[in-house]
């Protein structure tokens, strides 16, 4: 490892020292001008793939974290063992799979009212945030997940949510039943 470039060592050191995940742009700002950051990140994530801690991307930001398979041995280090309640977890899933989602939409899917407390918990965890209003009657708030959510669940992008493509193909993320299930009298939408 003696032939390591200075830039690679610097990127490594920056990611290691940072308290928060860093984007390539943030890294570039702290590196010699002209440094091409993405290949360095790719190389580092390969280098660390099989080690005790790994380098991963979450929503465009990069950070080291301990390898998931070592979880059992690291119980001493557990800092956040709170497990989310069922309501919060379902609400989180609905927002993540549908985002942006309004409270009314969450309630429509869950079939019960969503308490302010449930959304508050998710917002306090930094996993969900209100993100503007929908241009619809009542201008309801829309909720989205955050990069911290992606990091917490080790997802590089929202599209990496488990089963997302299947759910979408099955029409289970749409408010209306798929066309095939609709009565014949209903006019078919082109391209559905």
């Amino acid at each position: 490892m003696s032939d390591l470039g200075l830039s690679l060592r610097l990127v490594e050191a920056l990611l290691f020292a940072a308290r928060e995940p860093l984007s390539p742009a943030e890294l570039a700002r702290r590196l010699p001008p002209g440094t091409n950051v993405p290949p360095i990140l790719a190389e580092l994530s390969t280098t660390y793939a099989a080690r005790g801690f790994v380098l991963a991307e979450h929503g465009g930001r990069w950070a080291f974290h301990t390898a998931p398979d070592l979880a059992a041995a690291l119980v001493h280090e557990r800092v956040d063992s709170r497990s989310l309640g069922r309501a919060a977890l379902e609400t989180l899933a609905i927002i993540a799979y549908h985002e942006p989602a309004t409270r009314a939409e969450i309630e429509e899917i869950r079939g019960v009212a969503v308490s302010a407390d449930t959304l508050g918990t998710l917002i306090e965890l930094g996993w969900v945030r209100p993100a503007g209003r929908r241009e619809a009657p009542g201008r309801p708030l829309e909720y989205r997940t955050t990069p911290e959510f992606l990091r917490a669940y080790d997802l590089a992008h929202l599209r990496d949510l488990p089963g997302l493509a299947d759910l979408r193909a099955a029409g289970l993320l749409a408010a209306e039943p798929p066309a095939a299930l609709r009565p014949a009298s209903e006019p078919m939408l082109p391209g559905v």
Binding site: A18, E77, E90, A93, I94, Y153, L172, P177
Partner: protein, 257 residues
Amino acid sequence: MSEAEPTPASPPPGTAAAIAAEGLVLRMEGWEGPLERLLDLARTRKIDLARISITHLVDQYLAHVEGEGRPRLEIAAEYLVMAAWVAFLKSASLLPVEPEPEPEPEALAAAAAHRAARLAAMRDAAALLDLRPRLGRERHARGQPEGLAERTRASPGANLQALLAAYGRVRLRSERRGYTPQRRAVVTMAQALAALTAATRGLREWTMLARLIAPAPGTLARSGLASTLAAALELARGARIELRQATAFAPIELRAT
């Protein structure tokens, strides 16, 4: 939509006459005549409001109010209420009257099944999500990050607009800071009493009060006159001097008792 005629807070009949005297007569395509007549016809559905342009109505209302010179608020308000009613009745006439379609049982069943499937899918998704190694639970961030050192060099942008606004703000605040009365030079009551007591001691002759006031410049002279008169009244009340005045506005004279 309900067929019941909405009962507006219609203008009292008395004011209509007053307005008629002032006269807001609309001249537009589909209607020429007073606004109140238009409203009457609209209420009883004797006119097709679809032909009436609300924009033109508003324009003519504004032109009328502005043309009044000093607009009479109560009249303008009456017209505003009437124009609003015309607008309301027109919007009501434009809304399509749609009978609610009877939901078909198959569609209802499909919708219910879809809803159940969606909920089940989200419950599964939530469970899958929860199985992932979570940061702080199965995965851990660095325990003692040094943090990224930063040295800050301040270099705020110079924004002239902001600077001027700041000065405007300050001036505005100082203008509003309230009124501090100016302290004016006055001859106090105590000074006048002392001076007059000394001047009238052993004064046997009737003497004009004005002669006993020490000459002083500007406002001090007027203050001296007022204070000396008050002092004279005070001394007279204590029977130390006598005061007399022949008629109103005649010179006031005094002497020691």
